[in-house]
Symmetry: C2
Subunit: 199 residues, 2 copies
Amino acid sequence: MASTPSLEKLTALLRRLPGIGPRSAQRLALDLLLRKRELMPALAEALLQAHQAIRHCQRCNNLCEAELCSLCAGGHRDQSQLCVVESPADLLAMEAAGVYRGEYFVLLGHLSPLDGIGPEALHLDLLARRLAEAGLQEVIFATNSTLEGEATAQFIASLIPPGLRVSRIARGIPMGGELEYLDRQTLGRALQGRSALDW
Amino acid sequence: MASTPSLEKLTALLRRLPGIGPRSAQRLALDLLLRKRELMPALAEALLQAHQAIRHCQRCNNLCEAELCSLCAGGHRDQSQLCVVESPADLLAMEAAGVYRGEYFVLLGHLSPLDGIGPEALHLDLLARRLAEAGLQEVIFATNSTLEGEATAQFIASLIPPGLRVSRIARGIPMGGELEYLDRQTLGRALQGRSALDW
């Protein structure tokens, strides 16, 4: 064997990360050992620290290191709007865009009957508690524009108590999108969702 | 801030790995936290273990966890042939191919004057010790077929004591290669290195 036990072990674990195949795993391990050795203890420390410290916000399910995430604890967001997203990554994307001032609820998943993922995976009891809070006026679904995302939004929308406005972020052609290269569904949705020219 | 300090830290460190951009780093960190939490302590442990245990073979420079690597210590390889490669990854590729029974020397780099990498980076003193060992008959250069790899092979070849056979692995069209898609240099080399049909 030309490799070593510790190298094999490290490579095998790196391979379990998403998008990392056997080649990439070996390349990562060797790069760490040969060129970035000082990174190894630091990365180990960061993994343990994140593993120990990070949990879910008791109110919105976002990742946090306390009882509540910084968005829920800060009290500086518009509590009348609640944006429902599938994952913390989606929440981060919305925040990075800087286009939304309301609060979030993170489902941590989506309905996918084929994969055996039903409503019990969606933390609906936590969502129900949030929906019951005073001051909420609108629930905005920002689940992915996939079959699962759409089904999830529709299912949850059916559970929302009357009196709340329920909306879905628009589906249509993306900025910079060229009609020539867009698929049928996107064009269909864009046409369906057309709005009056108001300038 | 919608993220957390531990998550930011982990993402920043993952970003320093080769081929991992900001998006991938975030995806890796979130995937670990949301879906592969049990992997985090294991990966931390493997990083620390590899960092502590892995060093270079005192004879051939390959990665190992003892004085000598398993190939040098095993004594079951043909000591009359020495294959010179640039990196442990190249050695592993040769071993995976299972086509070579001799020993190796790992340069841990290549000459690259433009990047300020000169002969001092190539562990030539260790190579000199290996070349002086009794029983060696042939040195086979298997450095990459790049400008740097070729220059490195030529430079080291010029230092090899007389009496040893010196060779270079063949350059030509790869198996399955279609002439139509190969570059000029490859075709030129393949023509230059043609051999008599002997069947």
